[in-house]
Amino acid sequence: MTLKTTAAPGSQKVGDPGDRVFSFILRAASSIVLLILIAFIVLLVIDSRESISRFGLSFLSSSKWNPVETEINKIAFGALPFIFGTVVTSLLALILATPLAIGSAIFVSEYSPPWIGKPVAFIIELLVAIPSVAYGIWGLFVLVPLMRDVVEPFLQSTLGKIPVIGLLFVGPPMGQDLLTGGVVLAIMILPTILSLSREVIAQVPRLQKEGMLALGATRWEVLTKAVLPYARPGIIGASMLGLARAIGETMAVTMVIGNSSTKITPSLLTPGYTISSAIANQFTEADSPIYFSAIVELGLVLLIVASVFNILSRILVMRLVGKGGGSHA
């Protein structure tokens, strides 16, 4: 990197014509990347303008989603149920996946002997690459029946009896609902959080750990007092990246969440939509310009939310891993 300051100005003065052509070509290619991003934002904003100007903020706060005009219901697009579904399932995924991922990352990087840790880490890295539709088909044919017949009745008979918490588990267990969506998402983001946390924990300076060990601390004490405080921002960043992925994830959730109700209830056992599953399911049905515009606005909302979480997580992780922190995933 230091090269630029030492060599770049010199070569410009000497001015090999090849250099100018070469750097022009590279610059043009880089501009394409920039153009794609700009076109993205511009096009999404333009196409959702009709919906934005007609519904304004009620798009985010109303829960009336009536794409088809009937005598009783006027056309209305309020995305609150979808936003609600996305928030509930992603938070659920985060709550379920984070402890598992961090615990496993600690085990792999701090406790396990290399002959266990290395293969486990390798498998996890491979699992990051499994396409989401594969998690989706597993969720649909294995997890949904399991949730419907075993897990959900069990939750209803135990946690469901407790006053306030019980409200989360009201209604007939159907399998295809918000809870199952959250579980599938949790499984999907587990490898992401795990591999990034592992990378972050590996950045903790060896001397800090050895110093404490030399003073007679147990491994657990080293972990809680030297490793975790140092790695905390990075681990939080890893979880946020997981959250960002959960928010944007489409296929796996679409296949298990039910896609049928736009009611907002406290129960996790109601079928619902997420923003992305609503796009995937309703895109082909968008026959009127306003319907199409509303769906594009859903895409815009998703883009903004996911980007915010992504940027936040990068800032947190970068602080630890340094500039080369983009090599995960």
């Binding site: 070509i25 615990g103 989401s132 657990w220 972990l223 796009i279």
Partner: protein, 287 residues
């Protein structure tokens, strides 16, 4: 008295250490178990449905058993090739620009754009390409699908190639420059050849990721149950086929969905496994 307290404290510390170890082992085994169960199910359900027909025939009409998903395999390969043609030059050139030439504000902006593009929800890419191409220009087509895949691949390629180029020792560049070699020759004939395996693995990684993308294809290439080599027509792809078959009501299609999942995962795993293996060996050698 004091000593006794000390011993008790020590015992407590050791106990908490042991407890935490057990807890962490439990969490780790649980994560690995969950993930292995998923892979196990895919193998068990997929293997039993794999036949030769599966790879060579197109789907039978509704309700009839048999047939295969050859058209989806063709579609995936064709769209990946076109997407690669679009994404590889842009991705690699951007990475070279960022590492070898970029230091100003423009380069910073491009770097930021890549980070944002890399984590875009893939369905949004689908919406974008729909609005850009499908609606007025191409209609549902293989070209639109490839464009969506290319947009997903560009940031992956750019990021991994950037990482790899940064590993090239500056001494190498300086040595070549000191001999009076122009920068473009230094980059193309000194820097790039030393990291060529790394660049190839970055490309493979992006292809593996694109092979499994489903959501953007739903909105762009749509899918097709017949053989179609024409990129201007709606085109089938393996992940699309998995989705459509999985949510269908037919048992035979469910079995095909499992089998397609197995094949798709095998392809992705082989690609990214090869990548991991190559990078590791290559990094090892370059040290």
């Amino acid at each position: 008295m004091h000593e006794q307290a000390e011993t008790r404290r020590f015992a407590r510390r050791r106990a908490s250490n042991l407890m935490s170890l057990l807890f962490v082992v439990l969490l780790a085994s649980l994560s690995v178990a969950i993930l292995l169960v998923i892979v196990g199910h895919i193998f068990a359900n997929g293997l039993s449905s794999l036949t030769l027909d599966f790879f060579t025939k197109i789907p039978k009409p509704y309700g009839e058993d048999g047939g295969g998903i050859a058209q989806a395999i063709v579609g995936t390969i064709e769209m990946l090739l076109l997407a690669g043609l679009m994404a590889i030059p842009v991705g690699v050139a951007t990475a070279i620009y960022l590492v070898e030439f970029g230091s100003g504000r423009f380069a910073k902006t491009v770097g930021f754009a890549i980070e944002l593009l890399a984590e875009l929800p893939s369905i949004v890419v689908g919406v974008f390409v729909w609005a850009l191409l499908v609606r007025n220009v191409t209609g549902y087509s293989g070209i639109a699908g490839s464009t969506a895949l290319a947009i997903i691949m560009i940031p992956i390629i750019a990021r991994s190639v950037e990482e790899i180029l940064k590993l090239v020792p500056n001494g190498l560049r300086e040595a070549a420059l000191a001999l009076g070699t122009p920068r473009w020759k230094v980059v193309l004939f000194v820097v790039v050849p030393t990291v060529l395996p790394g660049i190839l693995t970055g490309i493979m990684l992006s292809l593996a990721r694109a092979a499994g993308e489903t959501a953007p294809l739903l909105l762009t290439s749509l899918g097709n149950n017949f053989f179609n080599f024409n990129l201007q027509k709606p085109m089938a792809a393996m992940p699309l086929q998995i989705y459509n078959y999985a949510v269908s009501p037919y048992d035979d299609w469910h079995r095909k969905a499992w089998a397609s999942t197995l094949v798709l995962i095998a392809i992705v795993a082989i690609m990214s496994g090869a990548v991991k293996f190559l990078t590791r060996r290559w990094k090892h050698e370059s040290n």
